[in-house]
């Protein structure tokens, strides 16, 4: 337990001192602010363009902007959040394998599994803080602008999008702990996502596969029920557990 907490502390210190934590908070903060801000500014921007549009014969009727507009933006931007966090953490193992920094620690008798576990925990912690930070900002501003921002279905949709991130990150780390290149881990993760996405085109499978968790917006608009969403959530959680176990196993057989 002491070893794990020391290693986790080291990982978190690394996030802070290499400024990764700062970059994550700033970028996710911007994501969070952009969603309601864009929604709020849309009518104003359109009215600015209104005259020139009118000249071209396009008339703009009254545009009603609501919290749903902000959440629409929020779910559209999610893919960027996933790509950013996956890119940021793709090298957590490769960096140590390539530079040889792990050798000093392993030659102290630390189990390799603990090293992998500390990285897994640090990455998931980084994702949790970033994700809920962006969510909180969108929620706060939406509530400020439009009053009722907690639309029905929002919590399930938000948790679903969060779990999709957990699934992607554990998948990436399972590859990363067994490979010596962060780039390969990132590409393979993208490949597996694309595969699941393609399989999801089959109507019988859609509701079971993790990519469905990116469609949370449909819960808010009423185009989907929780029953169409939950199977994917449970499967993504189960896969995340398996992938975490693979991540711990992958480092065991790594020649250093």
């Amino acid at each position: 337990m002491r070893q794990l907490s020391l290693l986790l502390r080291k990982e978190l210190l690394e996030l802070v001192r290499t400024r990764k934590a700062m970059v994550l908070l700033i970028v996710f903060g911007i994501f969070g602010i952009m969603n309601p801000a864009l929604a709020k500014l849309t009518p104003w921007m359109l009215s600015l363009m209104g005259e020139s549009l009118a000249d071209q014969g396009i008339t703009i009727g009254a545009i009603s902007v609501t919290a749903l507009t902000a959440w629409t933006q929020y779910f559209k931007n999610l893919m960027m959040e996933y790509i950013l966090i996956l890119a940021m953490f793709s090298g957590v193992f490769a960096q140590e394998y390539q530079s040889g920094t792990l050798i000093n620690l392993l030659s102290k008798g630390v189990s390799r599994g603990r090293v992998a576990a500390s990285k897994l925990l640090a990455v998931l912690l980084g994702w949790s803080v970033s994700y809920w930070f962006a969510f909180g900002i969108t929620l706060g501003y939406s509530a400020y602008f439009w009053g009722d921002a907690l639309l029905p279905g929002i919590w399930l949709a938000a948790v679903g999008a969060y779990v999709l991130g957990v699934w992607l990150l554990t998948l990436e780390l399972a590859f990363a702990s067994a490979l010596s290149s962060g780039m390969y881990a990132l590409l393979l993760t993208g490949g597996v996502y694309a595969l699941f996405f393609a399989l999801g085109m089959l109507p019988q499978l859609t509701r079971f596969l993790p990519p469905r968790l990116g469609d949370g917006l449909m819960l808010l608009t009423g185009d989907m029920t929780a029953a169409d969403f939950l199977p994917a959530l449970w499967l993504a959680l189960a896969l995340s557990l398996v992938q975490s176990a693979l991540c711990l196993a992958g480092i065991r057989k790594k020649q250093l």
Partner: protein, 301 residues
């Protein structure tokens, strides 16, 4: 008791057989010089000892316990200094030693004094609060020794600790190794022979994937000691004069004669002969094999 025991270890990388049936013993308290040319397999051997690489065959025991690949239990007895130790640049030496010591199971209240003691030993007390990212190679090498010793290991393994350093840096490392010899057994790999002669008492020469030569340094020297003596003159004429008066020598250089089969008695008589002939040589000495000549001899076999 042997702290480290390798029996019949083999390893290949693809087609290339790096270690063929390597057996090696390091007795407790020794400073063992592990010699071999570049690419002989020294680092591979050390990584197998640490369980970082899988051996294809054979057995490694540390303090009687078997080493298993991927497992790290036996490493609690071991301190390891890699050839180019790498650190987390965002930590300072104190934080790094606290991390290593904690991971090695040093009790929290003993950790701080031990870290300070080691920082003083390796001369880094003044830089203990600076980030390691800005350290020179020599400083990293010294910090490497400190991290390897933090848990008072029974066996310290140093992989070419002096190879990348300038003469001053090399002397620092050798002095540190001398200072800790009472605390721990040391296995020390290098291809720099003078370093071995300065600090080691046991040697093993790795060549062609097995130990070509091993034992106590003096014994190995004695075993391979060539008899005879060497006389060196200031002028070539003097050497020729002496050779005509005393047969059996061969020219090594024009002013230097070797009497390869002479005994100690022969050497004494040669010295009185020099006196009676009024010849004063630059030097006259018994032939003692240098580590270098042993190395070349074993490598040539």
């Amino acid at each position: 008791m042997d702290v480290l025991e390798l029996t019949g270890v083999t390893k290949h990388f693809g087609e290339r057989e790096v270690l063929k049936d390597l057996s090696l013993r390091v007795p407790e308290g020794a400073i063992y010089g592990f010699i071999g040319e570049n690419g002989a397999g020294k680092t591979t051997t050390m990584k197998i000892i640490l369980g970082l690489l899988a051996a294809d065959g054979g057995e490694v025991r540390i303090c009687g316990e078997k080493v298993s690949y991927g497992g790290t239990r036996t490493n609690r007895f071991v301190g390891y200094l890699p050839d180019v130790p790498e650190f987390y640049g965002y930590l300072n030496p104190r934080e790094y030693l606290a991390l290593c010591g904690g991971l090695a199971g040093v009790a929290p209240d003993a950790l701080r004094p031990r870290a300070e003691e080691l920082l003083a030993l390796v001369g880094l007390t003044g830089s203990a609060s600076r980030r390691i990212g800005g350290f020179s190679r020599g400083m990293k090498q010294r910090l490497g020794i400190a991290q390897a010793l933090i848990h008072r290991p029974k066996l310290l393994i140093c992989d070419e600790p002096t190879s990348a350093l300038d003469p001053a840096g090399r002397k620092d490392i050798i002095d540190i190794l001398r200072a800790i010899r009472s605390e721990t057994t040391v296995l020390f790999s290098t291809h720099i022979l003078p370093d071995i002669e300065r600090v080691c008492d046991q040697i093993g020469l790795l060549h062609g994937g097995r130990l070509a030569l091993s034992g106590r340094l003096e014994e190995v020297r004695a075993m391979h000691a060539k008899s005879g003596f060497v006389v060196e003159f200031a002028e070539e004429g003097e050497a020729a004069t002496f050779l005509s008066a005393r047969a059996g020598g061969v020219f090594d250089t024009p002013a230097r004669l070797i009497y390869p089969t002479a005994t100690r008695v022969d050497m004494l008589s040669a010295m009185s002969q020099l006196g009676s002939m009024g010849l004063c040589p630059l030097k006259i000495e018994q032939r003692e094999p240098s580590l270098e000549s042993l190395f070349m001899e074993a490598a040539a076999e």
